[in-house]
Amino acid sequence: MKLSDIKKTYGTGGLMVPVLHGIDLEIEEGEFIAIMGPSGSGKSTLMNIIGFLDTPSSGNYELNSEQTGRVKQRELARLRNEHIGFVFQQFFLMPRLNALKNVESPLIYAGVPKRERRERARQMLEKVGLSDRMTHLPNELSGGQKQRVAIARALVNHPSIILADEPTGALDSKTSEQIMKLLVELNEEGRTVIIVTHEEEVASYTNRIITLHDGLITDDRRNLS
Protein backbone atom coordinates (compact mmCIF):
# COMPACT_ATOMS: atom_id res chain seq x y z
CA MET A 1 0.00 0.00 0.00
CA LYS A 2 1.43 3.30 -1.05
CA LEU A 3 0.19 6.85 -0.39
CA SER A 4 1.98 9.66 -2.22
CA ASP A 5 1.45 13.37 -1.59
CA ILE A 6 -2.09 12.90 -0.28
CA LYS A 7 -3.80 16.23 0.34
CA LYS A 8 -7.26 16.78 1.65
CA THR A 9 -9.08 20.08 1.85
CA TYR A 10 -12.62 20.44 3.17
CA GLY A 11 -15.04 23.12 2.02
CA THR A 12 -15.23 25.04 -1.22
CA GLY A 13 -14.67 28.60 -2.38
CA GLY A 14 -13.66 31.08 0.30
CA LEU A 15 -13.83 28.68 3.21
CA MET A 16 -11.13 26.15 2.43
CA VAL A 17 -9.90 24.19 5.40
CA PRO A 18 -6.80 22.14 4.60
CA VAL A 19 -6.58 19.04 6.78
CA LEU A 20 -3.86 16.93 5.17
CA HIS A 21 -0.92 18.76 3.66
CA GLY A 22 0.78 16.00 1.73
CA ILE A 23 1.13 12.57 3.24
CA ASP A 24 3.66 10.10 1.87
CA LEU A 25 3.33 6.67 3.38
CA GLU A 26 4.23 3.14 2.38
CA ILE A 27 2.85 0.17 4.26
CA GLU A 28 3.91 -3.41 3.57
CA GLU A 29 1.62 -6.38 3.80
CA GLY A 30 1.63 -7.87 7.29
CA GLU A 31 2.62 -4.72 9.13
CA PHE A 32 1.07 -3.76 12.48
CA ILE A 33 0.79 0.01 12.60
CA ALA A 34 -0.49 2.64 15.00
CA ILE A 35 -1.45 6.07 13.71
CA MET A 36 -1.23 8.58 16.54
CA GLY A 37 -1.70 12.26 17.00
CA PRO A 38 -3.73 14.80 18.92
CA SER A 39 -7.28 15.59 17.82
CA GLY A 40 -7.32 17.85 14.79
CA SER A 41 -4.06 16.37 13.54
CA GLY A 42 -5.83 14.73 10.60
CA LYS A 43 -5.47 11.13 11.73
CA SER A 44 -9.21 10.43 11.32
CA THR A 45 -9.20 11.92 7.83
CA LEU A 46 -6.18 9.80 6.92
CA MET A 47 -7.94 6.73 8.23
CA ASN A 48 -11.08 7.58 6.19
CA ILE A 49 -8.96 7.89 3.06
CA ILE A 50 -7.11 4.63 3.72
CA GLY A 51 -10.50 2.98 4.40
CA PHE A 52 -12.07 4.36 1.20
CA LEU A 53 -14.70 6.19 3.21
CA ASP A 54 -13.37 9.41 1.71
CA THR A 55 -11.32 10.41 -1.34
CA PRO A 56 -8.22 12.63 -1.29
CA SER A 57 -8.36 16.10 -2.86
CA SER A 58 -5.11 15.31 -4.61
CA GLY A 59 -2.37 12.72 -4.55
CA ASN A 60 -2.15 9.02 -5.25
CA TYR A 61 -3.33 6.01 -3.29
CA GLU A 62 -2.18 2.66 -4.58
CA LEU A 63 -3.42 -0.56 -2.99
CA ASN A 64 -2.06 -3.92 -4.21
CA SER A 65 -0.82 -2.00 -7.31
CA GLU A 66 -4.39 -0.83 -7.94
CA GLN A 67 -4.75 2.92 -8.53
CA THR A 68 -7.58 4.25 -6.41
CA GLY A 69 -7.12 8.00 -6.69
CA ARG A 70 -10.28 9.20 -8.39
CA VAL A 71 -13.00 6.56 -8.44
CA LYS A 72 -16.77 6.62 -8.29
CA GLN A 73 -18.89 6.06 -5.18
CA ARG A 74 -19.88 2.66 -6.45
CA GLU A 75 -16.25 1.65 -6.86
CA LEU A 76 -15.43 2.94 -3.37
CA ALA A 77 -18.14 0.71 -1.95
CA ARG A 78 -16.58 -2.28 -3.69
CA LEU A 79 -13.06 -1.38 -2.45
CA ARG A 80 -14.31 -1.06 1.13
CA ASN A 81 -16.10 -4.35 0.87
CA GLU A 82 -13.16 -6.26 -0.62
CA HIS A 83 -10.12 -4.70 1.03
CA ILE A 84 -11.04 -3.13 4.35
CA GLY A 85 -12.30 -4.60 7.59
CA PHE A 86 -13.48 -1.85 9.95
CA VAL A 87 -13.43 -2.00 13.73
CA PHE A 88 -15.02 1.00 15.46
CA GLN A 89 -14.76 2.43 18.95
CA GLN A 90 -18.54 2.18 19.42
CA PHE A 91 -18.64 -1.33 17.85
CA PHE A 92 -21.56 -0.38 15.52
CA LEU A 93 -23.35 -3.69 15.51
CA MET A 94 -26.85 -3.83 14.10
CA PRO A 95 -29.04 -4.07 17.20
CA ARG A 96 -31.80 -6.24 15.74
CA LEU A 97 -29.44 -8.84 14.26
CA ASN A 98 -27.77 -11.58 16.27
CA ALA A 99 -23.97 -12.00 16.36
CA LEU A 100 -23.94 -14.46 13.46
CA LYS A 101 -26.07 -12.22 11.24
CA ASN A 102 -23.93 -9.19 12.09
CA VAL A 103 -20.81 -11.02 11.02
CA GLU A 104 -22.52 -12.21 7.84
CA SER A 105 -23.51 -8.74 6.66
CA PRO A 106 -20.38 -7.77 4.62
CA LEU A 107 -20.73 -11.09 2.75
CA ILE A 108 -24.26 -10.15 1.74
CA TYR A 109 -22.92 -7.09 -0.06
CA ALA A 110 -20.16 -9.22 -1.59
CA GLY A 111 -22.83 -11.49 -3.07
CA VAL A 112 -21.76 -14.67 -1.24
CA PRO A 113 -24.46 -17.37 -1.22
CA LYS A 114 -26.33 -17.89 2.01
CA ARG A 115 -24.96 -21.28 3.03
CA GLU A 116 -21.36 -20.15 2.57
CA ARG A 117 -22.05 -16.90 4.43
CA ARG A 118 -23.36 -18.79 7.41
CA GLU A 119 -20.36 -21.11 7.43
CA ARG A 120 -17.75 -18.35 7.14
CA ALA A 121 -19.42 -16.22 9.80
CA ARG A 122 -19.48 -19.22 12.14
CA GLN A 123 -15.75 -19.84 11.58
CA MET A 124 -14.90 -16.22 12.33
CA LEU A 125 -16.91 -16.15 15.55
CA GLU A 126 -15.13 -19.35 16.62
CA LYS A 127 -11.83 -17.67 15.82
CA VAL A 128 -12.58 -14.72 18.14
CA GLY A 129 -13.77 -17.12 20.84
CA LEU A 130 -17.50 -16.52 20.68
CA SER A 131 -18.75 -19.89 19.42
CA ASP A 132 -21.22 -19.99 22.31
CA ARG A 133 -22.68 -16.54 21.62
CA MET A 134 -23.63 -16.82 17.98
CA THR A 135 -27.37 -16.34 18.40
CA HIS A 136 -27.14 -13.58 20.98
CA LEU A 137 -28.28 -10.07 20.19
CA PRO A 138 -25.74 -7.24 20.72
CA ASN A 139 -27.51 -5.98 23.86
CA GLU A 140 -27.02 -9.42 25.40
CA LEU A 141 -23.22 -9.17 24.99
CA SER A 142 -20.58 -7.42 27.06
CA GLY A 143 -18.45 -4.62 25.58
CA GLY A 144 -15.50 -6.93 24.93
CA GLN A 145 -17.77 -9.52 23.31
CA LYS A 146 -19.33 -6.87 21.11
CA GLN A 147 -15.93 -5.72 19.94
CA ARG A 148 -14.96 -9.31 19.19
CA VAL A 149 -18.12 -9.71 17.09
CA ALA A 150 -17.08 -6.52 15.28
CA ILE A 151 -13.59 -7.95 14.70
CA ALA A 152 -15.09 -11.18 13.38
CA ARG A 153 -17.19 -9.05 11.04
CA ALA A 154 -14.06 -7.16 9.91
CA LEU A 155 -12.29 -10.46 9.18
CA VAL A 156 -15.05 -12.36 7.43
CA ASN A 157 -14.40 -10.93 3.97
CA HIS A 158 -10.64 -11.70 4.11
CA PRO A 159 -9.72 -8.02 3.71
CA SER A 160 -6.24 -6.70 2.87
CA ILE A 161 -6.30 -4.34 5.86
CA ILE A 162 -7.96 -4.38 9.27
CA LEU A 163 -8.63 -0.75 10.10
CA ALA A 164 -9.39 -0.15 13.78
CA ASP A 165 -10.46 3.28 15.02
CA GLU A 166 -9.81 3.52 18.78
CA PRO A 167 -10.80 -0.16 19.19
CA THR A 168 -10.39 -0.08 22.96
CA GLY A 169 -11.74 3.42 23.55
CA ALA A 170 -15.01 2.16 25.06
CA LEU A 171 -13.58 -0.76 27.02
CA ASP A 172 -12.03 -1.19 30.46
CA SER A 173 -8.31 -1.91 30.71
CA LYS A 174 -8.64 -5.66 31.20
CA THR A 175 -10.93 -6.12 28.22
CA SER A 176 -8.76 -3.74 26.22
CA GLU A 177 -5.82 -6.03 26.79
CA GLN A 178 -7.77 -9.04 25.51
CA ILE A 179 -8.84 -7.16 22.40
CA MET A 180 -5.29 -5.97 21.74
CA LYS A 181 -3.99 -9.51 22.16
CA LEU A 182 -6.55 -10.68 19.61
CA LEU A 183 -5.36 -8.01 17.16
CA VAL A 184 -1.74 -9.03 17.76
CA GLU A 185 -2.70 -12.63 17.05
CA LEU A 186 -4.40 -11.65 13.81
CA ASN A 187 -1.30 -9.70 12.79
CA GLU A 188 0.91 -12.66 13.55
CA GLU A 189 -1.17 -14.71 11.12
CA GLY A 190 -0.01 -12.29 8.43
CA ARG A 191 -2.81 -9.70 8.32
CA THR A 192 -2.09 -5.98 7.94
CA VAL A 193 -3.56 -4.17 10.95
CA ILE A 194 -3.75 -0.37 11.27
CA ILE A 195 -4.92 1.14 14.54
CA VAL A 196 -5.84 4.78 14.98
CA THR A 197 -5.39 5.75 18.61
CA HIS A 198 -4.20 8.42 20.96
CA GLU A 199 -3.26 5.97 23.72
CA GLU A 200 0.43 5.18 24.04
CA GLU A 201 -0.42 1.89 25.67
CA VAL A 202 -2.41 0.70 22.69
CA ALA A 203 0.30 1.89 20.32
CA SER A 204 2.90 -0.09 22.25
CA TYR A 205 1.45 -3.35 20.94
CA THR A 206 2.25 -2.38 17.36
CA ASN A 207 5.50 -2.64 15.36
CA ARG A 208 5.42 0.78 13.77
CA ILE A 209 4.10 4.06 15.13
CA ILE A 210 3.26 6.93 12.81
CA THR A 211 2.58 10.30 14.42
CA LEU A 212 0.61 13.04 12.70
CA HIS A 213 0.69 16.71 13.53
CA ASP A 214 -1.27 19.41 11.70
CA GLY A 215 -1.79 17.29 8.64
CA LEU A 216 1.80 16.10 8.27
CA ILE A 217 3.68 12.98 9.39
CA THR A 218 6.07 14.20 12.03
CA ASP A 219 7.35 10.86 13.23
CA ASP A 220 7.50 7.34 11.79
CA ARG A 221 9.42 4.89 13.93
CA ARG A 222 9.78 1.17 14.41
CA ASN A 223 8.62 -0.13 17.73
CA LEU A 224 10.88 -2.97 18.69
CA SER A 225 9.47 -3.73 22.12
Binding site: L53, D54, F86, F88, M94, R96, P106
Partner: protein
Amino acid sequence: MSIWESLKVAMSSIWGHKIRSILTMLGIIIGVGAVIIIVAIGEGAKNQIADDMFSTDENEIQLYYEQIFLEDDTEMMWVEEPEITDEDLAVLREVPGVQSVLGINQGWGMMVHNEEQSDMTITGVDEGYFAAKNIEMLEGRPFLARDNDSMNRVILIDSVTREKFFSDGEDVIGEIVEVSDNPYKVVGVYKSTIPEELLQYDDFASGEMLMPRALVSMMFGNREIESVSVIAESPEIVSETGQLTADALTEQIAPEDGMYISNDFTQYEEELNSYLTIITLFIGSIAGISLLVGGIGVMNIMLVSVTERTREIGLRKALGATRGRILLQFLIESVTLTSLGGLIGIGFAVAATFVASQLLPFEATISPLVVLIGFCFSAFIGIIFGILPANKASKLSPIEALRYE
Protein backbone atom coordinates in the same frame (compact mmCIF):
# COMPACT_ATOMS: atom_id res chain seq x y z
CA MET B 1 -28.24 -8.34 -1.43
CA SER B 2 -31.18 -10.08 -3.03
CA ILE B 3 -34.69 -8.67 -3.00
CA TRP B 4 -35.67 -11.46 -0.63
CA GLU B 5 -32.93 -10.41 1.79
CA SER B 6 -34.11 -6.78 1.63
CA LEU B 7 -37.68 -7.92 2.15
CA LYS B 8 -36.69 -9.78 5.31
CA VAL B 9 -34.83 -6.73 6.61
CA ALA B 10 -37.90 -4.60 5.80
CA MET B 11 -40.26 -7.00 7.56
CA SER B 12 -38.11 -7.10 10.67
CA SER B 13 -37.94 -3.32 10.74
CA ILE B 14 -41.75 -3.06 10.36
CA TRP B 15 -42.22 -5.74 13.01
CA GLY B 16 -39.76 -3.93 15.27
CA HIS B 17 -42.06 -0.89 15.36
CA LYS B 18 -45.48 -2.54 15.42
CA ILE B 19 -47.60 0.35 16.65
CA ARG B 20 -45.85 2.90 14.49
CA SER B 21 -46.21 0.65 11.44
CA ILE B 22 -49.91 0.03 12.04
CA LEU B 23 -50.59 3.75 12.48
CA THR B 24 -48.62 4.52 9.35
CA MET B 25 -50.49 1.88 7.39
CA LEU B 26 -53.87 3.10 8.63
CA GLY B 27 -54.22 5.71 5.90
CA ILE B 28 -53.52 3.09 3.23
CA ILE B 29 -55.79 0.54 4.92
CA ILE B 30 -58.70 2.97 5.04
CA GLY B 31 -58.06 4.30 1.54
CA VAL B 32 -57.79 0.93 -0.21
CA GLY B 33 -60.64 -0.50 1.86
CA ALA B 34 -62.99 2.41 1.16
CA VAL B 35 -62.28 2.46 -2.58
CA ILE B 36 -62.89 -1.29 -2.91
CA ILE B 37 -66.09 -1.18 -0.87
CA ILE B 38 -67.49 1.74 -2.86
CA VAL B 39 -66.64 0.15 -6.20
CA ALA B 40 -68.13 -3.15 -4.99
CA ILE B 41 -71.40 -1.47 -4.01
CA GLY B 42 -71.46 0.46 -7.29
CA GLU B 43 -70.90 -2.74 -9.29
CA GLY B 44 -73.57 -4.52 -7.28
CA ALA B 45 -76.08 -1.75 -7.99
CA LYS B 46 -75.22 -1.86 -11.68
CA ASN B 47 -75.70 -5.61 -11.90
CA GLN B 48 -78.98 -5.39 -10.03
CA ILE B 49 -80.32 -2.71 -12.36
CA ALA B 50 -79.21 -4.67 -15.40
CA ASP B 51 -80.96 -7.79 -14.05
CA ASP B 52 -84.15 -5.93 -13.18
CA MET B 53 -84.57 -3.84 -16.26
CA PHE B 54 -82.73 -5.21 -19.21
CA SER B 55 -82.58 -8.93 -18.99
CA THR B 56 -85.61 -10.08 -21.05
CA ASP B 57 -85.67 -10.82 -24.78
CA GLU B 58 -82.27 -9.43 -25.32
CA ASN B 59 -82.33 -9.86 -29.05
CA GLU B 60 -85.78 -8.31 -29.43
CA ILE B 61 -86.39 -4.68 -30.18
CA GLN B 62 -89.58 -2.64 -30.67
CA LEU B 63 -90.11 -0.04 -33.37
CA TYR B 64 -92.20 3.02 -32.54
CA TYR B 65 -93.53 5.92 -34.49
CA GLU B 66 -92.38 9.30 -33.30
CA GLN B 67 -94.03 12.45 -34.53
CA ILE B 68 -91.70 15.32 -35.36
CA PHE B 69 -92.83 18.74 -34.23
CA LEU B 70 -91.41 21.61 -36.17
CA GLU B 71 -90.15 24.55 -34.20
CA ASP B 72 -92.47 27.09 -35.82
CA ASP B 73 -95.58 25.02 -35.17
CA THR B 74 -97.76 27.24 -33.08
CA GLU B 75 -100.15 24.43 -32.37
CA MET B 76 -98.97 21.02 -31.44
CA MET B 77 -101.13 18.60 -33.34
CA TRP B 78 -101.15 14.87 -32.80
CA VAL B 79 -101.35 13.24 -36.18
CA GLU B 80 -102.73 9.77 -36.76
CA GLU B 81 -99.95 7.22 -37.10
CA PRO B 82 -99.55 5.80 -40.58
CA GLU B 83 -100.81 2.27 -41.24
CA ILE B 84 -98.27 -0.51 -41.43
CA THR B 85 -99.07 -3.44 -43.65
CA ASP B 86 -97.77 -7.00 -44.01
CA GLU B 87 -96.03 -5.80 -47.13
CA ASP B 88 -94.00 -3.33 -45.04
CA LEU B 89 -93.05 -6.10 -42.64
CA ALA B 90 -91.87 -8.20 -45.59
CA VAL B 91 -89.50 -5.37 -46.53
CA LEU B 92 -88.09 -5.27 -42.98
CA ARG B 93 -87.38 -9.01 -43.11
CA GLU B 94 -84.84 -8.30 -45.86
CA VAL B 95 -82.76 -5.99 -43.59
CA PRO B 96 -79.44 -7.63 -42.69
CA GLY B 97 -79.22 -9.07 -39.19
CA VAL B 98 -82.96 -9.55 -38.91
CA GLN B 99 -84.12 -13.01 -37.86
CA SER B 100 -87.82 -12.28 -37.84
CA VAL B 101 -90.26 -9.37 -37.79
CA LEU B 102 -93.53 -9.52 -35.89
CA GLY B 103 -96.54 -7.28 -36.27
CA ILE B 104 -98.45 -7.09 -33.01
CA ASN B 105 -101.53 -5.38 -31.67
CA GLN B 106 -103.19 -5.48 -28.32
CA GLY B 107 -106.61 -5.37 -26.74
CA TRP B 108 -108.30 -5.78 -23.39
CA GLY B 109 -111.28 -8.02 -22.89
CA MET B 110 -113.48 -9.43 -20.13
CA MET B 111 -113.29 -13.19 -20.25
CA VAL B 112 -116.21 -15.08 -18.71
CA HIS B 113 -116.25 -18.85 -18.26
CA ASN B 114 -117.31 -21.43 -15.66
CA GLU B 115 -118.71 -18.60 -13.49
CA GLU B 116 -115.27 -16.95 -13.35
CA GLN B 117 -114.58 -13.62 -14.96
CA SER B 118 -111.51 -11.48 -15.39
CA ASP B 119 -110.21 -8.52 -17.36
CA MET B 120 -107.34 -9.73 -19.48
CA THR B 121 -104.71 -8.65 -21.96
CA ILE B 122 -105.25 -9.99 -25.45
CA THR B 123 -102.31 -9.93 -27.82
CA GLY B 124 -102.94 -10.12 -31.54
CA VAL B 125 -100.26 -12.14 -33.29
CA ASP B 126 -99.65 -14.02 -36.49
CA GLU B 127 -98.36 -17.53 -37.08
CA GLY B 128 -94.67 -16.44 -37.03
CA TYR B 129 -94.96 -15.32 -33.41
CA PHE B 130 -94.65 -18.79 -31.93
CA ALA B 131 -91.29 -19.71 -33.39
CA ALA B 132 -89.84 -16.21 -32.99
CA LYS B 133 -90.73 -15.93 -29.29
CA ASN B 134 -90.14 -19.61 -28.45
CA ILE B 135 -93.68 -20.12 -27.25
CA GLU B 136 -94.08 -23.57 -25.75
CA MET B 137 -97.42 -25.19 -26.56
CA LEU B 138 -98.79 -27.35 -23.75
CA GLU B 139 -102.02 -28.46 -25.41
CA GLY B 140 -103.64 -28.05 -28.83
CA ARG B 141 -102.03 -26.11 -31.68
CA PRO B 142 -100.57 -22.66 -32.33
CA PHE B 143 -102.14 -20.33 -34.89
CA LEU B 144 -101.83 -21.13 -38.57
CA ALA B 145 -101.77 -18.80 -41.53
CA ARG B 146 -105.40 -19.53 -42.26
CA ASP B 147 -106.51 -18.33 -38.81
CA ASN B 148 -105.41 -14.82 -39.73
CA ASP B 149 -106.48 -14.99 -43.36
CA SER B 150 -110.03 -16.05 -42.66
CA MET B 151 -110.30 -14.36 -39.26
CA ASN B 152 -111.13 -17.57 -37.46
CA ARG B 153 -112.65 -16.90 -34.11
CA VAL B 154 -110.01 -18.83 -32.19
CA ILE B 155 -107.99 -18.00 -29.10
CA LEU B 156 -105.05 -19.45 -27.23
CA ILE B 157 -104.92 -19.22 -23.44
CA ASP B 158 -101.81 -19.45 -21.31
CA SER B 159 -101.17 -21.86 -18.47
CA VAL B 160 -102.15 -19.27 -15.84
CA THR B 161 -105.54 -18.66 -17.46
CA ARG B 162 -106.15 -22.38 -17.81
CA GLU B 163 -105.55 -22.87 -14.12
CA LYS B 164 -107.87 -20.02 -13.19
CA PHE B 165 -110.81 -20.84 -15.45
CA PHE B 166 -110.62 -24.61 -15.82
CA SER B 167 -110.16 -27.54 -13.51
CA ASP B 168 -107.12 -29.76 -13.93
CA GLY B 169 -108.59 -32.73 -15.74
CA GLU B 170 -111.04 -30.70 -17.81
CA ASP B 171 -110.67 -30.85 -21.58
CA VAL B 172 -109.96 -27.33 -22.79
CA ILE B 173 -109.43 -27.75 -26.51
CA GLY B 174 -112.59 -26.94 -28.44
CA GLU B 175 -114.23 -25.19 -25.49
CA ILE B 176 -116.12 -22.05 -26.31
CA VAL B 177 -115.32 -19.09 -24.01
CA GLU B 178 -116.84 -15.63 -23.93
CA VAL B 179 -114.60 -12.58 -24.20
CA SER B 180 -116.27 -9.17 -24.06
CA ASP B 181 -119.62 -10.72 -24.99
CA ASN B 182 -118.34 -12.60 -28.03
CA PRO B 183 -117.74 -16.34 -28.23
CA TYR B 184 -114.33 -17.77 -29.22
CA LYS B 185 -113.08 -21.30 -29.55
CA VAL B 186 -109.99 -22.31 -27.50
CA VAL B 187 -107.58 -24.16 -29.81
CA GLY B 188 -104.52 -24.40 -27.57
CA VAL B 189 -102.79 -23.73 -24.24
CA TYR B 190 -99.25 -22.30 -24.09
CA LYS B 191 -96.82 -21.95 -21.25
CA SER B 192 -97.24 -18.51 -19.69
CA THR B 193 -94.49 -15.99 -20.39
CA ILE B 194 -95.45 -13.75 -17.45
CA PRO B 195 -92.50 -13.48 -15.04
CA GLU B 196 -93.30 -15.22 -11.77
CA GLU B 197 -92.81 -12.13 -9.62
CA LEU B 198 -95.52 -10.27 -11.59
CA LEU B 199 -98.23 -12.89 -10.98
CA GLN B 200 -99.12 -11.32 -7.64
CA TYR B 201 -100.39 -8.18 -9.39
CA ASP B 202 -104.06 -8.05 -10.46
CA ASP B 203 -103.24 -7.21 -14.07
CA PHE B 204 -101.37 -10.46 -14.53
CA ALA B 205 -103.06 -12.78 -12.05
CA SER B 206 -105.44 -14.27 -14.64
CA GLY B 207 -102.84 -14.76 -17.33
CA GLU B 208 -102.93 -13.63 -20.91
CA MET B 209 -104.38 -14.79 -24.21
CA LEU B 210 -103.44 -14.66 -27.87
CA MET B 211 -105.76 -14.03 -30.82
CA PRO B 212 -105.09 -13.83 -34.55
CA ARG B 213 -103.95 -10.29 -35.22
CA ALA B 214 -106.62 -9.54 -37.81
CA LEU B 215 -109.29 -10.69 -35.40
CA VAL B 216 -108.13 -8.35 -32.62
CA SER B 217 -108.14 -5.52 -35.11
CA MET B 218 -111.71 -6.27 -36.13
CA MET B 219 -113.17 -7.01 -32.71
CA PHE B 220 -111.50 -4.20 -30.80
CA GLY B 221 -111.24 -1.57 -33.50
CA ASN B 222 -107.45 -1.42 -33.43
CA ARG B 223 -105.21 -0.84 -36.36
CA GLU B 224 -104.02 -4.16 -37.59
CA ILE B 225 -100.34 -3.59 -36.78
CA GLU B 226 -99.80 -1.36 -33.80
CA SER B 227 -96.26 -2.19 -33.01
CA VAL B 228 -93.45 -3.88 -34.82
CA SER B 229 -91.14 -6.20 -32.94
CA VAL B 230 -87.84 -7.06 -34.58
CA ILE B 231 -85.82 -10.05 -33.48
CA ALA B 232 -82.15 -9.79 -34.33
CA GLU B 233 -79.96 -12.76 -35.14
CA SER B 234 -77.91 -12.21 -31.98
CA PRO B 235 -77.99 -9.94 -28.90
CA GLU B 236 -74.71 -8.30 -29.95
CA ILE B 237 -76.22 -6.66 -33.01
CA VAL B 238 -79.62 -5.81 -31.51
CA SER B 239 -79.07 -2.01 -31.29
CA GLU B 240 -77.66 -1.83 -34.77
CA THR B 241 -80.42 -4.00 -36.24
CA GLY B 242 -83.06 -1.90 -34.46
CA GLN B 243 -81.60 1.25 -35.98
CA LEU B 244 -81.44 -0.28 -39.46
CA THR B 245 -85.00 -1.59 -39.41
CA ALA B 246 -86.37 1.67 -38.00
CA ASP B 247 -84.70 3.56 -40.85
CA ALA B 248 -85.93 1.02 -43.38
CA LEU B 249 -89.49 1.38 -42.10
CA THR B 250 -89.30 5.16 -42.23
CA GLU B 251 -88.09 4.94 -45.81
CA GLN B 252 -90.73 2.39 -46.79
CA ILE B 253 -93.67 4.29 -45.35
CA ALA B 254 -92.28 7.80 -45.85
CA PRO B 255 -94.54 9.47 -43.26
CA GLU B 256 -94.93 13.23 -43.52
CA ASP B 257 -94.85 14.15 -39.86
CA GLY B 258 -92.55 11.70 -38.22
CA MET B 259 -90.21 8.78 -38.28
CA TYR B 260 -89.76 5.34 -36.78
CA ILE B 261 -87.35 4.79 -33.96
CA SER B 262 -86.24 1.72 -32.06
CA ASN B 263 -86.56 1.51 -28.30
CA ASP B 264 -82.94 0.76 -27.75
CA PHE B 265 -82.79 -0.50 -24.17
CA THR B 266 -79.10 -1.23 -24.46
CA GLN B 267 -78.61 2.46 -25.01
CA TYR B 268 -80.48 3.26 -21.79
CA GLU B 269 -78.53 0.59 -20.03
CA GLU B 270 -75.26 2.05 -21.24
CA GLU B 271 -76.35 5.51 -20.23
CA LEU B 272 -77.46 4.42 -16.78
CA ASN B 273 -74.27 2.40 -16.35
CA SER B 274 -72.16 5.37 -17.30
CA TYR B 275 -73.97 7.52 -14.72
CA LEU B 276 -73.38 4.88 -12.07
CA THR B 277 -69.76 4.61 -13.12
CA ILE B 278 -69.34 8.38 -12.81
CA ILE B 279 -70.91 8.37 -9.34
CA THR B 280 -68.77 5.40 -8.28
CA LEU B 281 -65.63 7.05 -9.60
CA PHE B 282 -66.53 10.31 -7.90
CA ILE B 283 -67.09 8.81 -4.47
CA GLY B 284 -64.18 6.43 -5.05
CA SER B 285 -61.80 9.28 -5.76
CA ILE B 286 -62.90 11.07 -2.60
CA ALA B 287 -61.97 7.88 -0.76
CA GLY B 288 -58.79 7.82 -2.79
CA ILE B 289 -57.72 11.11 -1.19
CA SER B 290 -57.20 9.09 1.96
CA LEU B 291 -54.61 7.11 -0.01
CA LEU B 292 -52.77 10.33 -0.78
CA VAL B 293 -52.86 11.37 2.87
CA GLY B 294 -51.73 7.86 3.81
CA GLY B 295 -48.87 8.10 1.35
CA ILE B 296 -47.68 11.34 2.90
CA GLY B 297 -47.81 9.67 6.32
CA VAL B 298 -45.64 6.87 4.98
CA MET B 299 -43.15 9.40 3.60
CA ASN B 300 -43.04 11.17 6.94
CA ILE B 301 -42.35 7.99 8.90
CA MET B 302 -39.76 6.84 6.39
CA LEU B 303 -37.92 10.14 6.79
CA VAL B 304 -37.98 9.67 10.56
CA SER B 305 -36.73 6.14 10.07
CA VAL B 306 -33.85 7.31 7.87
CA THR B 307 -32.80 9.81 10.53
CA GLU B 308 -33.06 7.22 13.29
CA ARG B 309 -31.00 4.76 11.34
CA THR B 310 -28.36 7.17 10.11
CA ARG B 311 -25.64 5.17 11.86
CA GLU B 312 -26.92 1.89 10.49
CA ILE B 313 -26.81 3.38 7.01
CA GLY B 314 -23.25 4.62 7.57
CA LEU B 315 -22.21 1.24 8.85
CA ARG B 316 -23.79 -0.60 5.91
CA LYS B 317 -21.93 1.73 3.58
CA ALA B 318 -18.66 1.07 5.42
CA LEU B 319 -19.31 -2.64 5.03
CA GLY B 320 -19.61 -2.20 1.28
CA ALA B 321 -23.23 -1.28 0.55
CA THR B 322 -23.53 0.85 -2.58
CA ARG B 323 -25.91 3.82 -2.90
CA GLY B 324 -28.20 1.69 -5.06
CA ARG B 325 -28.47 -0.98 -2.38
CA ILE B 326 -29.33 1.50 0.37
CA LEU B 327 -31.91 3.11 -1.93
CA LEU B 328 -33.41 -0.25 -2.79
CA GLN B 329 -33.53 -1.31 0.84
CA PHE B 330 -35.51 1.74 1.94
CA LEU B 331 -37.71 1.62 -1.14
CA ILE B 332 -38.53 -2.02 -0.45
CA GLU B 333 -39.29 -1.10 3.13
CA SER B 334 -41.80 1.57 2.17
CA VAL B 335 -43.35 -0.63 -0.53
CA THR B 336 -43.64 -3.48 1.96
CA LEU B 337 -45.31 -1.12 4.42
CA THR B 338 -47.89 0.18 1.94
CA SER B 339 -48.50 -3.21 0.30
CA LEU B 340 -49.13 -4.73 3.70
CA GLY B 341 -51.54 -1.85 4.39
CA GLY B 342 -53.16 -2.55 1.01
CA LEU B 343 -53.60 -6.25 1.85
CA ILE B 344 -55.14 -5.46 5.23
CA GLY B 345 -57.40 -2.91 3.52
CA ILE B 346 -58.49 -5.55 1.00
CA GLY B 347 -59.23 -7.94 3.85
CA PHE B 348 -61.38 -5.32 5.58
CA ALA B 349 -63.14 -4.50 2.34
CA VAL B 350 -64.02 -8.16 1.70
CA ALA B 351 -65.45 -8.49 5.20
CA ALA B 352 -67.32 -5.17 4.98
CA THR B 353 -68.72 -6.03 1.56
CA PHE B 354 -69.99 -9.32 2.90
CA VAL B 355 -71.77 -7.49 5.72
CA ALA B 356 -73.06 -4.79 3.36
CA SER B 357 -74.55 -7.44 1.07
CA GLN B 358 -76.63 -8.74 3.97
CA LEU B 359 -77.96 -5.25 4.71
CA LEU B 360 -78.45 -3.91 1.20
CA PRO B 361 -81.28 -5.01 -1.11
CA PHE B 362 -78.68 -6.23 -3.61
CA GLU B 363 -75.39 -8.06 -3.52
CA ALA B 364 -72.23 -5.95 -3.61
CA THR B 365 -69.67 -7.65 -5.83
CA ILE B 366 -65.89 -7.37 -5.48
CA SER B 367 -64.23 -7.91 -8.80
CA PRO B 368 -60.74 -9.46 -8.73
CA LEU B 369 -59.57 -6.69 -11.03
CA VAL B 370 -60.45 -4.01 -8.46
CA VAL B 371 -58.61 -5.97 -5.77
CA LEU B 372 -55.58 -6.30 -8.03
CA ILE B 373 -55.65 -2.59 -8.89
CA GLY B 374 -56.05 -1.71 -5.19
CA PHE B 375 -53.04 -3.81 -4.28
CA CYS B 376 -50.86 -2.52 -7.10
CA PHE B 377 -51.86 1.03 -6.29
CA SER B 378 -50.88 0.68 -2.64
CA ALA B 379 -47.50 -0.71 -3.71
CA PHE B 380 -47.19 2.15 -6.18
CA ILE B 381 -47.82 4.66 -3.37
CA GLY B 382 -44.96 3.00 -1.48
CA ILE B 383 -42.65 3.64 -4.41
CA ILE B 384 -43.78 7.24 -4.96
CA PHE B 385 -43.63 8.29 -1.33
CA GLY B 386 -40.62 6.11 -0.57
CA ILE B 387 -38.33 7.61 -3.18
CA LEU B 388 -37.61 10.82 -1.30
CA PRO B 389 -36.61 9.19 2.02
CA ALA B 390 -34.74 6.36 0.27
CA ASN B 391 -32.81 8.85 -1.82
CA LYS B 392 -31.96 10.83 1.29
CA ALA B 393 -30.67 7.67 2.97
CA SER B 394 -28.59 6.63 -0.04
CA LYS B 395 -26.92 10.03 -0.24
CA LEU B 396 -25.67 10.04 3.35
CA SER B 397 -21.91 10.21 3.57
CA PRO B 398 -20.61 7.20 5.53
CA ILE B 399 -18.24 9.38 7.58
CA GLU B 400 -20.99 11.78 8.62
CA ALA B 401 -23.41 8.94 9.24
CA LEU B 402 -20.95 7.03 11.48
CA ARG B 403 -20.22 10.16 13.48
CA TYR B 404 -23.96 10.80 13.96
CA GLU B 405 -25.10 10.51 17.57
